[in-house]
Structures are given as C-alpha cells and as structure tokens.
C-alpha cells in the first residue's frame, strides 16, 4: 500500500451500490438507507458522548455533579472549575494547578518537534535520493525503533540522563523524544521523497548543485505536505505522551499529562470531578485544536505511519 494514502471526500470514488442508495425495486432501499444512517449516528453518539460529558461536567458546579446525571446540561454554566484546574488545583504536594505543567509541555514540545522533524527530513533525503551500499539496511534497523516497546529503554536511559546531568530537566525529556521520534520522522520523509522523481536530482546535479543546495533549493520547497503531516504527528505524540513524562521528569519538569494524572488521582477528601474534567479539557485542547483545523494532515500521518511502503 502506498504511504500516501488519502481519505478522499465522499464525492470521489465512494462505492455506489444501488441497494444502499435507496434504489432497489421494492423500496427496500429506503429502509437500507435508514438502517445505514441509524448505525452511523449511533456510533457518532458513542464517540461524541464522552467529549460532551467532559465539557458539560467541567462547566457544572459540584452540587449539580453530585446529582449524578452525566448527560444533563449545566444549569448555571461557569468556568470556575477551569480556573481552579488551571491555577489552584492540587497535583500531589503542590496546589498550583495545571499551569506549570502546561508550560513545561510547551517548552518540551517545541524543540523536540522541530529538531526531530528537521533530522527526519535530512535523513529521509539521504535514504531516498542518495542511497549507498547498506543504506537500506540502516533504514530497516532504524525503523525497528518505531515498534519496540519503549519500556525496554526506560531504565538504561534514566542512567544515561543521570550521567549527563539532565535527568530531572526538560532537556532530558526533549532528548528522549527526539531520539524516539527519529525513526518515524525519517520514515515519513523518506517515503515522501521516494515519490519525487530521481531525474529532478540528476538535473540539479548537472546544473551544478551539490548535496545541500539540492536539498535547500529543490527538495525542501517541495516538502510542504509532508512537513505539515510530520509536525502535526510529532506534536500530537509528544504532547500526549505520558510514559516518558512520568519516568524522565523531575519535580519542575513534568509535562501536562503527568500533571493531569496527578490531579485526577490525588486522594484528597473531596473529589472535585468538575475540576478533573476541566483539567482534562485543558490538557486536550492543543492537540484537539490542531486536529480540527488540520484533520486531513493528521489522518495522512496516521495512515502513513501505519502502512509501510
């Protein structure tokens, strides 16, 4: 399967099967259509309800929460829970809300995404257009990194970070995310660049351009789509990560996912579910936002990552 599989809009190439289009003789088609839509809507309901619950619960006050009706609309919607989640909720010993964790995430995500994407682009360029003996093997070896369970590097990596003195800092996290992200970013770019005609590179060589000039002037300008896909993919994965966040961070460098988990799991006397939901919303907003505005690219990243080519 090609790495660039697209999910195209309904008008292009959907299966036109008369039965489901409502066009069978005895009018059974109309029933089929109805059944089709009911199933689809049922699942839509299934997928949307948790978000609905999260949102509405975060806007309710504790009195209404205690009534126990998940699906009710907030009677007097307010952002009190959100404010509390942001600045004063307790996440273990500290009660400073999600804000410091959120900021940690931002500081970690930006360099990690940029560096891993840049390296992926250059690596992909080499592996697709400048192959040499053993380069395919190198690629395969690197690729395995995408599949291995990360549990297997946790212990040794903590040791290594300790040696470098960055075990409890944001930079430790950044480094780990870059290393863990290299295989997938390299894969994305390599598969995309394989689709660029080799003759383009040959023509540039004849025109006198060398390795780097070809990259800057020709290959990179043509990388728009894959650049977006990779940035979005990396951002989503790194922002949403929890495992590295909980293992490799120190007191001041925990990302927002760890903050959220702590917040939701603190065994304080009174559980404030609305605050928990507000915190979950805050943690989810960045990636959700990106998904809504650039969903297509997100899907391309998913399918490109999963379907090897």
């Amino acid at each position: 399967m090609s790495a660039e599989t697209r999910v195209t809009p309904a008008s292009a190439g959907s299966r036109w099967i008369p039965a489901f289009a409502g066009m069978t003789a005895s009018g059974r088609g109309a029933w089929h259509r109805l059944a089709l839509w009911s199933v689809l809507l049922l699942f839509a309901f299934f997928f949307l309800t948790p978000m609905y619950v999260m949102l509405t619960s975060s806007l309710k006050d504790m009195a209404q929460i205690r009534e126990g009706n998940l699906l009710s609309l907030p009677a007097s919607p307010g952002f009190d829970a959100w404010a509390k989640a942001w600045s004063s909720a307790c996440t273990g010993i500290d009660c400073g809300g999600l804000k410091p964790f959120f900021l940690n995430s931002v500081m970690m995500v930006v360099p990690a995404v940029l560096v891993s994407t840049a390296l992926g682009a250059v690596n992909g360029y080499v592996l697709s257009k400048w192959r040499f003996k053993g380069s395919e093997l190198m690629f395969a070896l690197m690729l395995f990194g995408m599949f291995m369970p990360l549990q297997v590097v946790l212990l040794p990596m903590s040791q290594v970070l300790g040696w470098f003195g960055i075990a409890s800092s944001i930079w430790g996290l950044v480094l780990v995310h870059i290393l863990a992200g290299l295989p997938s970013t390299t894969l994305f770019f390599r598969n995309y660049y394989v689709g660029l005609p080799d003759e383009l590179i040959k023509a540039a060589m004849l025109d006198g351009a060398g390795f780097w000039r070809i990259f800057w002037r020709i290959v990179l300008p043509l990388s728009g789509p894959i650049l977006v896909v990779t940035l979005i993919w990396q951002f989503t994965n790194i922002w949403n990560d929890f495992l590295f966040g909980v293992v490799f961070s120190g007191g001041d460098s925990k990302p927002v996912t760890v903050g959220l988990n702590n917040l939701a799991n603190t065994s304080s006397a009174v559980k404030e579910y609305n605050v928990d939901m507000a915190a979950a919303m805050i943690a989810a907003l960045p990636t959700l936002f990106i998904y809504i505005i650039a969903g297509n690219y997100f899907v391309r990243g998913l399918t490109a990552g999963a379907v090897k080519g």
């Binding site: 383009l200 023509a203 060589m205 006198g208 020709i218 043509l222």
Partner: protein, 354 residues
C-alpha cells in the same frame, strides 16, 4: 565545440555486464544517436558521459580532457531528460537560469542568457509560469532552454520525445534538428525509435546487449547493415529474412534459387557458414508478371504507400508498394526484385557477408 571520446568503456553490475567494451569517437559539432532496444545499455552509457555513473573500466574524454571520474557539473555538459525534470517549485525563467546561478554567474548575465534562450525557443511568454502550467511541448522547450542557457560543450538527450503524442513528436523532432543546425553543439541523443535515429543523426550507433553493432551514417546503416540485427532494427516494415542454404555456386531456399550478383557469389566463396540469411527490404519487392509466385494475404494502405503481405514458398514476405495496389486479398501474384538489393548475412554469427 568539443569532441567526445569513449574508450573501451565497460560496466558491470555484479555478475552482469551491461556494457562490454564501447569505443566511440564523436567529432565536434556532430549529432550522434545511440539507438537500440531496451536493455542494450544506451541509457547507462549516456549516464556515464553525463557523470551520473562511472565505468568499471575504460575512460571518457570531453574535448581532450579525461572526465571519467569528474562530477557532472565539472564536465561542461547539459542534459535533457525523458521526463524533462523541470523544477516544479520554480518558474520557467528560474528553471533556465538555475545552472548559471549554481556557477555564480552574475544576475545581469543570467537574465541576458534567459532572454536569449527564450527568444530562440519562442517561450518568452512563458517565463513567469511554473512547469505545472505548461503543456508537454512547452515543457520540452523549457528543458532544452535550460540546457542551451549554459552554452555547454556537449548536449545529452535521454529519449526526450518518448512522452509526447505522435503529432507533437514529429514537430519537436524538427525543432531539435533545426536547433542543432543553428548551434552546432556536439550532441549525443539516446532513443529507441529508429525513425528519430535516422532523421536526426549525423551518425548512428546501433547498440544491442552492451555492444555497438554498427556505427555509421544513416545511409551506411540503412544500405549496408553490418549485422542481421541492425538490418531488422532499422527500417519499417522490417527487412524480409529468408533462411537459405548453399547449393552449387549459389543459394537455395525451400527449393527456390535465389538471385545473386557476381560480387555476392564471390563473397560467398570466402564465407564459411553453410547457412546464409537472405534479406530483402520491403521496398525492393515489386509486383510483376512473373517471378516468385504467391498469394496476397493482407493489404495495409497507408496513404502514400501500401504494405502488402504475400504468402510465398519462401514464407510471408512484406512488399512496400507506392500508391494503391490493384490486386485483392487472396489473389495470385508474382514478386520480383533485383539481386543487388539483397543483403546476405552469415546464418550463424549474423554478420554481413555481402
């Protein structure tokens, strides 16, 4: 102006020999064609001239400089690719001047070159467009413009017309020929199309399985093909080949005595093979009132000519007759030809005998 010298170039990939010893000398200003079926090595040879590949042994000289291992950009050559390979993210003007930019040519000179080339190829109105907005023929011209802009010593063409439809192909062929007449740059042109080879080349190298079977002018190749392969490859419809055996002082095929000239008989005496292939080009055959008997099995009128397939004791022969044919399919006819028009090839090593 430059000359090109290919000396005993060989190329192997592992166990397979792609090129088995190529020796070609190209004069300055000459238009050399490399033609042959796919897999014959012509594109590999072109890559080596371009510097995109290196020979396993042998050397390549451009204008008396040994460039065997030199980078493409140091060879002062330009190439037009089969897919044109225009840079999609740059407009036509930038595409043309990119090579000059890489060589640090000052902006003023670059722009002058672009104008000069655009005028020559009549693409001035396209300078701001991107390749995606151009038609096939226009892209071809831009590709040539890119090559022309640098005034290189050598032009290389890698099957540039293969992606065009038939009509456009004929037009662009003429343009390439005109361009060569004007600029007189030494050119090496690779194609698998024998019509292009015959019409464009000053000299043609017919290649097969890594070897140059014949290097000569179009006339040489057509009138005196050096091997059976060259004879069948060039010329359409292909030459009629009749297998024959020696008998007394001549040749016999399926009981029919084949016409031979004295020179041919002389050449036969020194040749060793017991079997000889007797070749006749379709245009050498004519309908007559007597001669070789046969019946018409198919007629293909092309307008100016008709190809007639005739079933004879010597096998199915194709005759190429000007105008229309008065005979109908199934009719009994006679074919005639002159012995001087026959080509004789050794039945075993396929080389020309006479």
């Amino acid at each position: 102006m430059g000359a090109l010298s290919i000396r005993n170039v060989r190329k192997s990939f592992g166990a397979t020999d792609i090129l088995k010893g190529i020796d070609v000398e190209v004069e300055a200003g000459e238009f050399l064609i490399l033609v042959g079926p796919s897999g014959c090595g012509k594109s590999t040879l072109l890559s080596m001239i371009a510097g995109l590949d290196t020979p396993s042994t042998g050397s390549i000289h451009i204008a008396d400089r040994d460039v065997t291992y030199a980078l493409p950009k140091d060879r002062d050559i330009a190439m037009v690719f089969q897919s044109y390979a225009l840079y999609p993210n740059m407009n036509v003007a930038k595409n043309i001047s990119f090579g000059l930019e890489m060589r640090n040519v000052p902006k003023v000179e670059r722009e002058a070159a672009v104008q000069r080339v655009a005028k020559m190829l009549q693409i001035e109105h396209l300078l701001d467009r991107k390749p995606g907005q151009l038609s096939g023929g226009q892209r071809q011209r831009v590709a040539m413009g890119r090559a022309l802009a640098r005034n290189p010593k050598l032009f290389l063409f890698d099957e540039p017309l293969s992606n065009l439809d038939a009509k456009l192909r004929v037009e662009m062929r003429a343009e390439i020929k005109l361009l060569h007449q004007r600029t007189k740059t030494t050119t090496v042109y690779v194609t698998h199309d024998q019509v292009e080879a015959m019409t464009l080349g000053d000299r043609i190298a017919v290649m097969r399985e890594g070897v140059v079977q014949q290097l000569g002018t179009p006339d040489d190749i057509y009138s005196r093909p050096a091997t059976r392969f060259v004879a069948e490859f060039i010329g359409s419809p292909a030459m009629n080949m009749v297998g024959s055996r020696r008998a007394a002082n001549g040749l016999v095929a399926k009981g029919v005595d084949l016409a031979l000239t004295d020179e041919q008989r002389l050449a036969l005496q020194t040749a060793a093979a017991p079997e000889i292939t007797y070749g006749l080009r379709p245009e050498s055959l004519a309908f007559a009132d007597d001669g070789l008997p046969g019946s018409v099995s198919m007629l293909e009128p092309t307008g100016p000519e008709t190809y007639a397939m005739v079933d004879t004791p010597l096998g199915n022969l194709v005759a190429r007759v000007p105008g229309k044919v008065s005979h109908a399919v199934g009719e009994r006819v006679f074919l005639r030809w002159a012995a001087t028009d026959a080509h004789l090839f050794d039945g075993q090593n396929e080389k020309r005998v006479a």
